[in-house]
């Protein structure tokens, strides 16, 4: 009995906060079959699959997969090479910037296949899926159907025994969907032992499966083969069978709204497009698209993925300017700046684009406000919509936490809240379950026939197409045909719209793609399915990360050129030599002696003279206003006193608000004073009298001319090499979590350390390249020679960049979003790096917390090294202690990251 089940679930429950997603489910999944999990949105299908795949942490209950407990880490890790999981969402687990080939290579490497084996497997899979002509195309530029095929290839590369697919065909056009299922059939024919578990909301797809589990509200309603299910319910279609399983309250309340024929008397056109064309570079997304849509008509837009439907819709809303052609709404030309027209249009974009952090009610209210509904109408209108859309019980849920189907309803609610005359809906029912979809279309029918709203809708569903007044088929940016759905359906042999659609598209594609080869020979070499060595996986991650960095040249340029620019700004800009200070004389004496005294300031490069001060009041006022930073007050009788050697004093008033500047000025003033004394004494031949007793000879070591540049050129790289690598690293880790590719880490045998170090290596490399560039700038641009041991400094740089990337990694592990990761890294790293690492003040001169922080921060040690090598000609022996101090930072940061990183979702 044990062996005939690929997975068994016992008393499993799962909660998200207070929402119960899975409610005490017990289920046995038979081996070697095509298993389907059907049910509407948000009933817990995805959660169940992710628990089976080991992506999510089990809360209560037991999940046994391939004869082992998924709560047991050892079993999970052992079994990952036998499970493959494809998450929901088009290409969600793919690296969009990487090519088809590179994606596959990455997965092959993760599973430890050698080059020859990878080649063989990739060729076999891509030939079978028809992806072989596109090996070099980035995954992000594939159509939805191709993305899913690629996702499947990536999942199949290691010959899994258990393939878990979460809504793999959602958002994929019928042609591609057909190909996808044929492919699965081929794979199963080749590997009869493999079990495939698919979650789907398409009932017609479920017909293909051997065994179905119907799910609703976190519970399994029934398990049976499709035939049995229909028989038991005594109905003809699986869809009806499923609905009959639902509790009374959830079954369809009413018969589908009959589409009354459109009132032909209404002849005006609500939307007119003439020759709309949009080009992105040399790619034509839409070419010469023309149509006329009458008032109150439901106009359907059907087409394969990437055929340009969205582009046309965006041009109609004014979001995208058309390259050529024109469009009119209500007879007025589409104009992005025309707010009046926009008041009459409702738009729903393909991706959910409401505020996830606002509740359902808050979202509706915001839209009502922004569409300027009168205050007293807002509440009734919201109540009305909540009821119509069946969102009443969710009004206080956050929109982001709703299942897809409900999100779509909410989006529609927001789009119609102001009762627009035109609705433009971009695949509003994609990913929505059949019941909800039907209800959704009822709403539309109501709007069109009841309120006379003109609706322009794009969809993949043929039954929705049939309910439109007219439809147009689009492919590769061109409208192939447009007519009533009934006429179009009649064109094909079987009389279905689906077939007509496929015919048109295959025609349009010209020569049909070469019939894909049958997939054979998968799973022949069991021997290679050993655990791959750790380092192989680590380098696989590094390699992929490196490719991703190279594919984003803008990021690379910002990083490298940006640091060069800052080096230039700071090396020249941070300086303590203050020149051009404004000073004013307050000469109450006006004798040759007083003028001689002042001449020492007037001739100085440090001071610019401002008009003289004439009164105490004026002195104060001008200093408050910041007009002068220094005033020299010479008392009356100064000349006489100097001549007769009577004691007298000169006062220097310094603007002390800026303390750093004030200290420097004090030094200058003392210098000028001393100069006056000695020249005066020499001139008077009174060397014994006024001459200083001692000559204090300052010798500026390492930097005899005492310029800031040599020490800044050495210090600034330490700052830049902390900030840039840390940020890049933090973003790289948090980004994977946000876009979902982190799932690949969850479901492969990659360990936390392999993953983190693998991701870190490329950024250490990037940091070192950056260090070399900055060093070259110092040597060749600023003429600051590298006097000491370059290898020692290089070694320090490696340890330092490892530390800074480690910091970014550590921060990112704790943060949920990219925003938070970036923000925290900047806030945490900026102050100690810039203020407490010795850039301006040596750490040893700091006080209190600042000093401790400076001593605990790696920048301090690297900056000392850099300054020492550039300016003091230090060697390995003198730098050794600093290198040793720098070394532990990275391991500590990485260790904390590994400790707190999770290998499963909560």
């Amino acid at each position: 009995m044990q062996t005939s089940c690929v997975a068994r679930v016992q008393a499993l429950s799962h909660r998200y906060g207070k929402n119960l997603a899975i409610d005490d489910v017990t289920l046995d999944l038979p081996t070697g079959k095509m298993l389907g999990l059907i049910g509407p949105d948000g009933v817990g299908k995805s959660t169940l699959l992710s628990l089976l795949a080991g992506v999510r942490k089990i809360q209560t209950g037991e999940v046994m997969v391939l004869d082992g407990d998924m709560a047991d880490r050892n079993h999970r890790e052992a079994v990952f090479i036998n499970i493959a999981y494809m998450p929901q969402g088009l290409g969600k687990n793919l690296y969009q910037e990487l090519s088809v080939q590179e994606n596959l290579q990455f997965f092959g490497r993760l599973f430890g296949h050698d080059a020859a084996e990878r080649r063989q497997r990739i060729d076999r899979l891509t030939k079978a899926t028809g992806l072989d002509p596109f090996l070099d195309r980035p995954a992000g530029k594939l159509s939805g159907g191709m993305k899913q095929k690629l996702g499947l290839c990536c999942a199949l590369i290691h010959d899994p025994d258990f393939l878990i697919l979460d809504e793999p065909t959602t958002g994929v056009d019928p042609v591609a969907r057909d190909q996808f299922w044929n492919l699965i059939d081929d794979i199963r024919a080749d590997r009869p032992g493999m079990s495939v578990l698919v979650a789907t909301a398409y009932m017609e797809e479920a017909e293909r499966f051997d065994w179905l589990a119907a799910m609703d509200d976190g519970k399994i309603l029934a398990t049976a083969s499709p035939d049995e299910m229909r028989r038991q319910a005594g109905v003809d279609t699986l869809e009806e069978a499923f609905v009959s399983l639902l509790p009374e309250a959830k079954q369809r309340k009413s018969a589908p709204v009959e589409m009354t024929p459109l009132d032909q008397a209404e002849t005006g056109h609500a939307i007119v497009a003439k020759g709309l064309t949009k080009r992105f570079g040399d790619f034509t997304a839409a070419s010469d698209v023309s149509f006329e849509i009458r008032h109150g008509e439901i106009f359907g837009f059907l087409g394969s993925n990437g055929s340009g439907k969205t582009t046309v819709m965006k041009m109609l809303t004014g979001l995208l300017p058309a390259s050529e052609g024109e469009a009119w709404l209500f007879g007025e030309k589409v104009d992005a700046s025309n707010a009046e027209t926009r008041m009459r249009v409702g738009y729903m974009s393909q991706l959910f684009s409401l505020y996830g952090e606002l509740t359902v009610r808050q979202n509706l209210k915001l839209h009502a406000r922004l569409f300027d509904l009168p205050n007293d109408e807002i509440e009734p209108r919201i109540e009305e919509l909540l009821t119509d859309l069946g969102l009443g019980r969710y009004e206080d849920s956050f929109a982001g936490e709703l299942p897809l189907g409900l999100k779509q309803r909410l989006s529609l609610g927001c789009a119609v809240i102001h009762k627009p005359d035109i609705l433009i809906l971009d695949e509003p029912t994609s990913g929505v379950d059949p019941v909800a979809r039907d209800e959704f279309f009822d709403l539309l029918a109501d709007l069109s026939r009841g309120d006379g709203v003109t609706i322009f809708i794009s969809t993949h569903f043929m039954n929705e197409g049939m309910r439109c007044d007219r439809i147009s088929l689009m492919h590769a940016g061109q409208v192939l045909v447009y007519d009533t759905p009934q006429n179009l359906a009649a064109e094909s042999a079987s009389g279905t719209l689906n077939e007509t659609f496929i015919d048109y598209i295959t025609d349009a594609m010209g020569a049909p793609e070469t019939a894909p080869e049958k997939l054979t020979g998968l799973g022949s070499d069991q021997a290679s399915r050993n655990h791959s060595p750790r380092l192989v996986r680590l380098f696989a991650v590094s390699r992929r990360e490196t490719l991703e960095v190279i594919r984003d040249p803008i990021r690379l340029a910002f990083g490298l050129l940006g640091s060069m620019l800052l080096m230039l700004l700071f090396a020249y800009g941070i300086s303590t030599d203050v020149t051009g200070l404004t000073f004013a004389a307050y000469d109450q004496d006006r004798t040759p002696e007083s003028r001689a005294y002042l001449a020492n300031f007037q001739g100085s490069q440090y001071f610019n003279e401002a008009p003289a001060v004439t009164s105490d009041e004026e002195l104060r006022r001008r200093m408050v206003a910041g007009e002068i930073t220094l005033a020299i007050e010479i008392p009356s009788g100064f000349g006489r006193s100097v001549a007769t050697l009577q004691p007298t004093s000169v006062a220097a008033w310094i603007d002390g608000a800026n303390t750093i500047r004030a200290s420097t000025i004090e030094g200058y003033v003392q210098g000028a004073h001393a100069t006056f004394l000695s020249t005066r004494a020499t001139a008077a031949g009174m060397s014994g009298m006024l001459q200083p007793k001692v000559n204090i000879e300052p010798r500026y070591r390492y930097n005899p001319s005492f310029e800031s540049l040599p020490s800044m050129a050495a210090s600034v790289p330490a700052i830049l090499l902390m900030l840039f690598p840390a940020i890049l690293m933090a973003v790289s880790i948090s980004r994977e979590r946000e876009i979902g590719t982190i799932t690949n880490f969850y479901v492969t045998p990659t360990s936390k350390l392999e993953y983190l170090l693998g991701k870190q290596l490329p950024y250490i490399g990037l940091g070192l390249i950056n260090w070399m560039i900055l060093t070259a700038m110092a040597v060749f641009m600023f003429d600051v020679p590298l006097k000491g041991s370059a290898p020692a400094l290089a070694l320090g740089a490696v340890a330092y960049v490892a530390a800074s990337t480690g910091l970014g990694m550590m921060v990112a592990v704790f943060m949920r979003t990219q925003v938070a990761a970036v923000f925290t890294t900047v806030v945490v790293a900026m102050m100690p790096t810039v203020q407490f690492s010795g850039l301006i003040q040596p750490v040893s001169t700091l006080e209190g917390a600042g000093r401790i922080l400076g001593q605990l921060w790696p920048t301090n040690y690297f900056m000392q090294m850099s300054v020492g090598v550039f300016n003091k000609a230090l060697g390995f022996d003198q730098l050794g202690p600093n290198i040793l101090l720098l070394l532990p930072f990275a391991p500590v940061f990485v260790a904390v990251a590994v400790l707190f990183m999770r290998k499963q979702e909560a």
């Binding site: 910002f558 020249y572 008033w653 003392q670 070591r701 938070a820 923000f823 300016n871």
Partner: protein, 373 residues
């Protein structure tokens, strides 16, 4: 009117969003609280705990008097070393200053032979070197004069120089530091919050959604500027009264109200920069890099760390474009010099105009970036 209402509703939404990002608010509190305190109090004077080593070959009363004249907190107790050790010590960074007192130094002073006192300075520590040299010279001169007076050798120089610092007579570094640290936190937080709010809307596609509504780019941008600015403004007010004036005990010469007004103007400028970055960047990674590129000059070249006057002539016009430089000027003027509106209005105006210019550029790029992205 409609526009103002729209901005108002959008601000409400921004607040809700912020409220849900608890970590961001936590960072705001951290920045204006502990972080600021550490930053402004940690600096000490421009010369603090300086390490001075003496090579005393004279071993006289005078040479010992010179050593004893160096007192904490400016100096650590001086060390002594042999002439052969000083190169090594300076190489290893163990000492910043080495004073070499030659044999027969005191005798030469007595005899009026003007002996030389060699002062070796580690010039790689630029700030300490510049300030310390002046201080050491003055202290030594004073000590030698006192010695000469005591010994009745010769009359003290009859011409005395009195140094008077206005506004901050004791030269408390923490005063200036607290203002520059306020500025740093203001800039970082405002730019990050506004920019990130925009990027997030772009990444989630919600901005596109806003663009098809009867809203204009300026309404969307203004809502972000006002909402995020307001949050920072509250935090700033807290930091000013509680942290700066309360905890750090920095006396305030001018009007706090005027500084708050100036801060509001500065927040507008900083938030506009945030909006601009959020529009130019195509992803969070790019935004983060652009952020470093703007925020570091804003912090380092504003005049808070090193004086504006010390920047090379070609750089000064460039830093003039940083609103932070204007903030620093008026904030220092108001806080310490007690300047009133008639003095700082021009800086306010420049700050505002710079902010308006950044916002203007953002709005031009706005629609393009939304549709292109």
């Amino acid at each position: 009117m409609r526009r103002i209402k729209n901005v108002f509703w959008l601000i409400g939404k921004e607040f809700r969003t912020l409220w849900r990002e608890a970590i961001l608010l936590l960072l705001v509190i951290y920045s204006f609280g502990p972080s600021m305190y550490v930053e402004s109090s940690g600096a000490g004077g421009p010369l603090n705990n300086a390490v001075v080593t003496f090579v005393d070959e004279d071993r006289s009363t005078l040479s010992r008097a010179l050593q004893n004249a160096l007192l904490p907190p400016r100096y650590l107790p001086p060390k002594e070393a042999g002439a052969d050790q000083i190169d090594r010590m300076m190489d290893w960074g163990e000492t910043t200053f080495v004073v070499v007192i030659p044999a027969g130094f005191e005798a030469d002073v007595r005899a009026g032979r003007t002996p030389s006192l060699q002062l070796n300075i580690d010039a790689t520590k630029t700030m300490a070197a510049a300030v310390g040299t002046g201080y050491l010279t003055a202290t030594f001169n004073e000590e030698i004069n006192r010695f000469a007076t005591g010994e009745d050798l010769a009359p003290v120089s009859p011409l005395d120089l009195v140094l008077r610092r206005s506004f901050n007579p004791a030269g408390e570094t923490a005063w200036l530091r607290s203002v520059s640290s306020l500025l740093n936190q203001l800039s970082i937080l405002t730019i990050v919050l506004t920019g990130a709010a925009l990027i997030r809307e772009r990444e989630h596609g919600t901005i596109e959604h806003l663009m098809v509504m009867p809203l204009s780019a300026i309404e969307i941008a203004m809502a972000k500027i006002i909402a995020n600015g307001l949050v920072i403004f509250v935090a700033f007010t807290f930091a000013l009264f509680v942290m700066v004036e309360g905890f750090m005990d920095v006396p305030f010469a001018g009007s706090e109200g005027l500084l708050l007004l100036g801060t509001a103007v500065y927040l507008f400028a900083a938030a506009s920069i945030g909006v601009l970055l959020g529009i130019v960047a195509r992803s969070m990674a790019q935004f983060a890099l652009l952020l470093i590129l703007t925020i570091t000059p804003i912090m380092i070249l504003s005049g808070g760390m090193t004086p504006i006057e010390s920047q090379p002539a070609w750089l000064q016009p460039i830093t003039w474009l940083l609103p932070s430089r204007h903030f620093m000027e008026f904030a220092v003027a108001i806080a310490f010099r007690g300047a009133d509106f008639s003095i700082v209005w021009l800086e306010f105006l420049w700050t505002f105009l710079l902010g308006a210019a950044f916002l203007f550029v953002s709005l031009i790029l706005f629609r393009r970036s939304v549709s292109g992205g």
